[in-house]
């Protein structure tokens, strides 16, 4: 077996991230609390270097290494670049929030970086084992992150719930994978795809395995009926962690779904399309209707996420390049919007005060018109009203649906987004139509201020000029699948 440096090249960013994270872990042991800022800077620097490595090694040609266990294609490079940016934004938004709550500790950064590594492995996994390892690395880091605020009962409860349900989902996923392995004799997703196309495997066992795999994927995406953990985790975790769970992990979950369903089990798309359709409609219904009843902003956004992931499934279930690229565009635009939404919650929080109820947004226009305007854009984007990016995300998915003859599903999706519009409008109403009760000035750090401005305006700018991002998503999917 020949094994050279060239085999390691495609996974250079992962290797670097692992080494750098270990270095940060050790460095952090030797620095005092006053110098903790160094850990933060090193983490950002690591992400920047990873970005540079991924960007400079992106060839546009799909490369397999480690006997196909690891795939480096344009889709993975694109997703990883978005992932670095997302994680970096999460770190910047979280800095002051963590500081004020005594959570600005080395563990946070190391766990976030390990979770990032797990997501990168998921994005590039070419084999059931790799995918599973990536998933577990991500999940274990997340359980710890959610529980980081030890003295908060809510956080511990959320972590416990997340852990138990997550372990169950992992078990189901493994069970499904083992059945597919039993039917095909292979763990390699491309090989499985080939075998299924030739029709050599036993379809009964395969479909049974497929059900478990889809359930596992659904849990990770957080779509109904596997959504129970989402509201509790979003509400219980410190907002910095919610921000991370609510945005970055969606990118990885999307890649995970694409690798398993589109790349591995494409030949069985007729079977998983039906499951996805049911889950998508359920998620849209449960997410949008339940969100109306929420008074806690984090919980409301959690239900809104469920609805959005339902929409994402609609993109995937078109099972063609247009559908996958629509789903990719959807997830990227959701991440951009979600970053701003959760960032805004942290912006309004201060020492000893968690802005997590809807009423905390009251009169934001009176307190600070600029942030109210940004939040307005975010809410209209989540509701899918043009000219914001959220509209084009929905448009792309609907278009993929209609082109594959699912016009009925498109109408259902549209009706539920109308219901969804109601609770997003309520947020706008609180900000603009109600009087402020809380008159504390909003004083974010300089970098937070700049980044939030860019983030919020990106929602509008990408809505006016969506073409570059859209073309990029289409190109990445076309080149990789």
């Amino acid at each position: 077996m020949n094994f050279g440096m060239s085999d390691l090249m495609p996974m250079l960013p992962e290797i670097f991230l692992l080494a750098a994270t270990c270095a940060i872990l050790i460095t952090d042991l030797f620095i005092s609390d006053q110098r903790r800022f160094l850990t933060y800077l090193l983490s950002l620097l690591t992400l920047a270097v990873c970005g540079w490595l991924t960007f400079s090694t992106a060839t546009g040609i799909t490369a397999y290494t480690m006997h196909g266990m690891f795939i480096d294609d344009l889709l993975s490079d694109t997703l990883k670049l978005f992932l670095y940016i997302t994680v970096a934004v999460v770190l910047v938004y979280s800095r002051d929030y963590l500081h004020l709550r005594g959570l600005f500790r080395g563990e946070f950064f190391v766990l976030v970086l390990f979770a990032t590594l797990g997501m990168m492995v998921m994005i590039s996994g070419g084999n059931f084992i790799t995918l599973y390892m990536g998933l577990e690395l991500l999940s274990l880091s997340l359980y710890a992150l959610v529980a980081m605020q030890r003295e908060s009962a809510l956080a511990v409860e959320a972590a416990m719930k997340y852990f138990i349900l997550g372990a169950l989902a992992s078990g189901m996923l493994l069970y499904g994978m083992s059945m597919v392995y039993g039917a095909t004799g292979s763990l390699d997703i491309n090989h499985i795809g080939l075998l299924l196309q030739m029709g050599v495997a036993n379809p009964t066992v395969l479909v049974l395995g497929l059900v478990f795999i889809v359930a596992g994927v659904a849990f990770k995406l957080g779509v109904a009926p596997f959504h129970m953990w989402i509201p509790d985790v979003y509400q219980g975790a410190p907002t910095a962690v919610t921000l991370f769970v609510g945005t970055a992990t969606k990118l990885a979950a999307f890649a995970f779904a694409i690798r398993l369903l589109a790349q591995g089990l494409q030949a069985f798309s007729v079977d998983w399309q039906q499951m996805l359709a049911i889950m998508a409609v359920l998620s849209l219904a449960i997410g949008n209707v339940t969100a109306i009843a929420q008074t806690n902003l984090k919980r409301m956004l959690a239900y809104s996420t469920i609805a959005h992931m339902g929409f994402l499934l609609l993109g995937i279930l078109s099972a063609n390049v247009a559908g996958y690229s629509a789903a990719l565009f959807y997830v990227v635009s959701y991440v951009i919007t979600g970053l701003a939404a959760f960032g805004m919650i942290m912006l309004l929080s201060r020492r000893g005060f968690e802005a997590e109820n809807l009423d905390d947004l009251k009169g934001l226009n009176q307190r600070n018109p600029w942030y109210a305007f940004l939040m307005l854009l975010v809410m209209f984007s989540l509701a899918g009203v043009p000219p914001t990016i959220g509209f084009y995300a929905k448009l792309a998915v609907l278009q993929a649906l209609v082109s594959t003859g699912h016009t009925g599903l498109a109408v259902v999706a549209v009706v539920f987004s109308l219901i969804g519009a109601f609770y997003y409008l309520r947020v706008v109403r609180l900000m603009y139509f109600d009087k402020a009760e809380d008159t504390h000035p909003i004083t974010p750090a300089f970098d937070f201020k700049i980044l939030m401005g860019i983030n919020g305006l990106a929602v509008l700018a990408l809505g006016i000029m969506p073409q570059p991002l859209m073309a990029m998503c289409l190109y990445a999917v076309e080149q990789s699948l």
């Binding site: 226009n365 009203v385 509209f391 448009l395 609907l398 109408v411 109308l418 706008v428 139509f433």
Partner: protein, 495 residues
Amino acid sequence: MLAGYPILSLVIWLPIISGVLVLATGSDRNAPLARILALVGALVSFAVTWPLWRWFDTQTANMQFSEFSSWIPSFNINYHLGVDGISMPLILLNSFMTVLVVLAGWRVIQNKVSQYMAAFLIMSGLINGVFAALDAMLFYVFFEAMLIPLFLVIGIWGGPRRVYAAIKFFLYTLMGSLLMLVAFIYLYFQANGSFEILAFQALPLTMSVQIMLFMAFFMAFAVKVPMWPVHTWLPDAHVEAPTGGSVILAAITLKIGAYGFLRFNLPITPDASHYLTGFIVTLSLIAVVYIGLVALVQGDMKKLIAYSSISHMGFVTLGIFMFNSIGMEGALVQMISHGFVSAAMFLGVGVMYDRLHSRQISDYGGLAKNMPVFASLLMLFSMANSGLPGTSGFVGEFMVIMGAMQVNFWYAFLAASTLIWGAAYTLWMYKRVIFGAVTRKEVAQMQDVVPREFVILGVLALLVLAMGVYPRPLTEVIHSSVSNLLAHVAQSKLP
């Protein structure tokens, strides 16, 4: 003549840019600056629409002043603009109204002035976009985006129940337009991957598909018009909106619904339109007669005018679905005329409201004593609202009744009854508010119109009279486009 100059882009983006500039003046400390900047922006934006009128070719039904550039090539969505005789007058009307709205809010709005003015300017640009867009998706983007500023205007500066009204308004209109979005996407695939409205119009479609598409468009536009029974958002929104919001709602946004019928329903689904004529005519006549009666019993002046608007818009939809030249031209004349008259009525109520802070008819009486100038101006507008010959209100209504007569006597008979209802509710309101004895001492202290208000109402009065006496410039502009549309609708599109 003016080929190559992006006049329509200017018409759309100039108000939006000036709106952003006004917004940048920030807090109310800079309110005077915001006001002046907004007025300059509105005037300049109106000025740039002048070439549209001056160099408009009345001989052709083709799209004029066209602009085309690629916008989202992935979906073949283009930035394609152009106007014909149907849309051009509406753009002029909208740009003109924006100036009046800025002036009308000059003193009254003291809270968040820059946001108020900016919302109207941005909305004005977006509405011009709605009328000028020739790409369905571009149309949709403008169509939806204009809801956002209007939602904020009603919700921030409105009356006591403003939150309810704003959310009701937004959800109602969103409900209609989302189904239209699905229809657009469906047509996109039928037209081999194009969102061009003109391509949609040329597309052969089976009857069942046409009916489904017609209903999707109908949902979007009937809510906007609004037609009975989806009209209930309008009285709420009108009553709670500030004066400027009411003016834009009545004068402009209602016209978007009727414009949608002319641009989408009729040419894209002509067979379904003919098939469903009875349905539309019934709803229109219910609006004309029943809503006219509802208007009669209103105690709130703004509500009364809101119901009167629904009744008048019933006339517009009736005229459109008569499928003859005089009826359709009458509908268009009625749209423009209603733009002036309803705006003037709302501005008139605004003048009274600013002095007494009441919209109830019963709180007034005997205004003629100390507000003679105002009373005579309002007299003219009331007459126009009830369709008196010599005012613009008469021309459109008369043409629609003539058109209806060609189709069915009873249509014309019921439609003509509006001349009675309209006169009844408008003049009765006028009598109770303006004539009679002065019942309250607050009314006795009300001042007559100040020069700013006089200019606003006076200009509108001149326009109402001019259109009533000599409507030809307008009918000339719309004639070719209407003939072309009728010829198109007369041809079956069944494959």
